[in-house]
Symmetry: D3
Subunit: 191 residues, 6 copies
C-alpha cells in the first residue's frame, strides 16, 4: 500500500499565500473543520485559484430552482462519468449532507440510472452527463425533454453550466492527481 501525495504539484504553505486566498481558506477551514485539498492544491497558482472559485461560486451558490442537492447530484454524476477520484468523494459527501440521505451519493456515482431519484432528476442527470461526455450531440430535443419536466432555460443553463465547469474541474484533478481528504469518505453517512 503506497499512500499518494495530495497533488503532483507543490502544496504552498498557508503563510506564503496571498492574503485573499489565505482568508478564504481559513474561512473554509473554520466552517468545515479541515481544509479540503482542492484549496491547497489549486493555490499553487493564485490567479487560476481565484477564477476557479469565482466560477464555482457563481454556479453553485447562486439562487436557482435547481436545488443545492440537485446541483451536487450533477457534480457527482458527471465526475463519476469522468472517473474523478477527488470530485466523486468530496462532492459525494456534500451531496449526502444536502440531501440528508446516506445512500444517494454512492447510488448516483455507481449508476445514476438506478438511483432513488425522481424522473425529473433523472432527466436532469441524463442532460448533464450528455454535456459531460457528448456535448457535440446536444439538440433541441434535449432541451425539450428538460422543459417537459418543468425546467426553464435558466435552470438548463445551471445544469449545463455545472456539467461544463466540472469538465474543467475533473480534468484539473486528473492533471495534478489530486486526492480527497479522508474526512470526505465518511461525512454524511448514517454510521
Amino acid at each position: 500500500m503506497t499512500e499518494k501525495p495530495v497533488s503532483r504539484y507543490p502544496i504552498p504553505r498557508l503563510e506564503d499565500l496571498p492574503e485573499d486566498i489565505r482568508t478564504r481558506i481559513v474561512a473554509v477551514q473554520e466552517k468545515a473543520g479541515f481544509i479540503p485539498n482542492v484549496f491547497l492544491a489549486l493555490a499553487h497558482r493564485p490567479d487560476e485559484f481565484r477564477a476557479f472559485f469565482a466560477y464555482h461560486d457563481a454556479l453553485m451558490l447562486r439562487e436557482s430552482r435547481v436545488s443545492k442537492a440537485e446541483r451536487e447530484m450533477i457534480v457527482v454524476a458527471t465526475s463519476s462519468a469522468n472517473d474523478c477520484h477527488y470530485c466523486v468523494i468530496a462532492h459525494g459527501a456534500i451531496l449526502r449532507i444536502y440531501a440528508k440521505n446516506p445512500f444517494i451519493a454512492d447510488q448516483v456515482a455507481v449508476n445514476y440510472r438506478q438511483a432513488d431519484i425522481t424522473p425529473r432528476q433523472r432527466a436532469m442527470l441524463d442532460f448533464a452527463v450528455k454535456v459531460a461526455l457528448h456535448p457535440q450531440q446536444l439538440e433541441e430535443e434535449d432541451f425539450a425533454r428538460l422543459r417537459a419536466h418543468g425546467f426553464n432555460d435558466e435552470d438548463i443553463w445551471d445544469i449545463g453550466g455545472i456539467a461544463s465547469f466540472f469538465a474543467l474541474s475533473n480534468r484539473m484533478a486528473h492533471l495534478i492527481a489530486m486526492r480527497p481528504n479522508e474526512q470526505f469518505y465518511s461525512m454524511g453517512r448514517a454510521c
Copy 2:
C-alpha cells in the same frame, strides 16, 4: 424520491424455498445479521441459484495466492467498469472489511488507477478490467506482465475467472435491477 424494489422479479418467501437454499440463506443471515438481497433475488430460480453460488464459492473461497481482499478489489473494479449498483456497494463493503481499510473500496470503484494499491495490485486490476471490458484483446503480453509481478498461471486463472464470473453477476444484477441492502453502504467504514 421513489424507493425501488429489491428486484424486477418476485422475491420468494423463505418458507417456500427448497431446503438446501433456505439453509444456506439462514446461515448467511446468522453470520451477517441480515440477508443480502442477492440471495433472495436469485432464489427466484433455484437451479441457477445453486450454480451461481457454487461458482462464486469455487473462486472466492478457494485457497489462492491472490488474497481475499485482492479478490474483492477485482470484484469492485470490474463491477464499477460495468456500473453495477449491487456489486459495487455490496462487495465494496466486503473489501473494506477484508482490507481493514475504510477508503479502499471507494478509491477502487471511482478510479483504481489512482487508488492506494501496490504496483502488483495495479497490474492485477489492469488485467481484470481488460477481461471485463475487452477480453478479445487478451494477448501473451498481458500474461507476461502479470508474471513479471510474481503471479503464476493459477493466480492468473483466479484473477481472470473472478472478472469473468462477475461479468455474469453484474449482468444478472442489471437484468433484474437488483438493489443492495442499506447495511452495505456503511459496513467497514471508520465512522
Copy 3:
C-alpha cells in the same frame, strides 16, 4: 501456419478426473462422437467445471418458451459481439442443427440485423446483445419492447440469463485461449 493448443492451461487426462466429471464427459463423447474441447479445458478446475455446466444446463436445458434454436441464436449473437472463437464456432454448429438451417449461424454471427430471422427473434437478439455489451443501459422500455413481441418475464430472464452466462463463458474462453474442435466447423452444413 502455427497450430495452437486447445487451451493455455494443461488439459487433464480423462483417467485423472473425478468420477462425476469423467462420467459426464464420456456421456457427451458417446452422444457427439467426440469430446468438445470445453469439457477438457475446464476440467482443469473440477469445482468450477461443475458449477459451469450446472449453470449452463439450468439455462439451456430448462423448459422454456424460448426455443432451443433461439437460445443458441442468443449464444452465437452475443459470443460474436465478444469475438469468441470457441463459442461462435461450437454453438454455431449446434444452432445449425437445432434450426435445421445451414445458413443461420453464419448470418447471426456476422450481423444478426441482416439474418433471416423473425421480427420477434430480432427483438430478442437486440435485447441479448445489449445485455452482452451495455448492460448498465437496460431500461424498462427494453423490457416493454420484448413484451410487445409476446415474451413474458420468465422468457426475458431466459434471454438475459443466457446472455449473462455467455458473458462469463466467452471471457473464460478468451482467458484460456480455448480452441474449438475441428468437427464443429462443418456440423450441420448442407454439404
Copy 4:
C-alpha cells in the same frame, strides 16, 4: 423466418445489361457455376459497376508478394470488423479455397488474433484492420512494424489498398442490404 431479397434495389435482367457487363457476368457464371450476387446487385448502375470491378481487379489480381490467400484474409478480417454479411460469407469461401484450409475463414472472421496464421500475417491483419477502423491513427511505426516482417512499401500499399477498397465495398453492401448466394456458405469446406 423471412427470406430477404438479394438487394434493396432492383436487380436488372441479364439481357437488359450493357454488353461489356453482361459478358463479364457470363464469364464469371461459367467459371463459378453461379452468378455471385454482387455482380447482379451492382449492375443496377453500370458506370459504378465498371469502376468497382476495375478497382477490385487492380488490387486483387495484380502481381504481388502478398499472396492471393493473404489478400482474401485481409478482405475477411476487415469485412468482419465492419460486420458485412456479403463480404464475410463470399470472401470467406474464396479464402478457404485459396488457402486450401476449411477452418481459416471462420477463424479470421470471428477473431483473427486467435487464428492459425503466421506472425507476419498477424501483423498484416493488424495493419489492415487499423486502416479499416482507425485510419486517422496510422503512424510511421505502423509501417515500421510491417517492414520488420519483410513487407516492402508496395506490399503495404496492397494491404492498405485492399482494406480501403473493402471499406467502400462493405458500405455499399450495407447500403443495399446485399445478400450472399447460398453456395458461398459451404464452398471450400471439408465436408
Copy 5:
C-alpha cells in the same frame, strides 16, 4: 516546423505517365490552374488511378437530384468524421465554390449539426455520416427518414455511394499521408 511531402510514396513525373492519365491531369491543370495532389499521388499506380477517378466521376458528375454542392457537403462531413486532411481541405474548397458560401465548408467540417443547412441537408448528412462510421447499423428507418425529406431511392444510393467512395478515398489518403495543395486552403473564401 517540418514541411511534409505530398505522399509517403514516390510521385511520378508527368512525362513518365501513360498517355490517358497525363491527358487527364493536364486537363485538370488547365481548368484549375494547378494540379491537385491527389492526381499525382495516385498516379503511382495507373490501374487504381483509372478506377478511382472513374468511380469518382460516376458519382460526382452524374445527373442527380442531390446537387453538386450537397454532394460536396457529404464529402466534407464524412471526410471530417474520418479526420482526413486532404479531403476536408480540398473538397472544402470545392464546396465553398459550388455553394457560393465562404463559411459552409468550415461549418460542415467542424460540426455539421451546427451548420447553416436545411433540415433536408441535415438528414442527408446524418445518413451519410452513419454510412461512414456505423454502416452495419443501417436500418429501414434510416431510409424512411430520408424519404420523408423527399429523397427517392436513387438519391439515397447517391448519398450512400458518395459516403462509401470517400470511405475508400479517406483511407487511401491516410495510407499515403497525402497532403493538400496550399491553393485549396483559401479558394472560395470571401477574402
Copy 6:
C-alpha cells in the same frame, strides 16, 4: 439555408451591462474591430462572464515557455476533438495570426497528427487531447514523454490547464449553440 442566432440565450444590449463588462467588451472591439460573439453570449450571466475571462487570461496571457501560438494550437486541437464550432473557427483565426501561417489552423483542426508541427508540438498536442478526451487515463509516462521534449512541470500545467479550460469552454459553446463571427473565418489567411 437557415441562418442561426448567435446563442440559444438572449444577448444583452451593451448599455445594459455592468460597467466592468462593458468596458472590457469595448476594449476588445477597439482592438479587433468587432465584438467576438463569446463576449456578448456569456455576458448573459455577468458573474460567470467575469470568472470565465479571468480564468482564460490567467492561462492564455501569462508568461510561459509554451508560446502563444502553441497555446492556440492546444485550443484548436482540443476544441476540434470536441467538435466545437465557435472555438475551432475563432481560435483558428488567432492561431493563424500568432503563427503567421495561413495553413496551420486547418491542419491542426482536421488532424493534428498530420499537421506541419515539430515533434515537441506533436507531443504537446497528444497530451492535450488526452486531457480533453481521456483524462482519467493520464499516467506518469504521459508526463515523462513531455519532459523528454523539454517541457517542465509548469509548462505541463499550462498545457493541461488550457485543455481543461477549453473542456469547459467547448461545453458552454455547445450548450448555448454559440456561433462564431463571420470575420473569424478569413482572418490570417493569405488571401
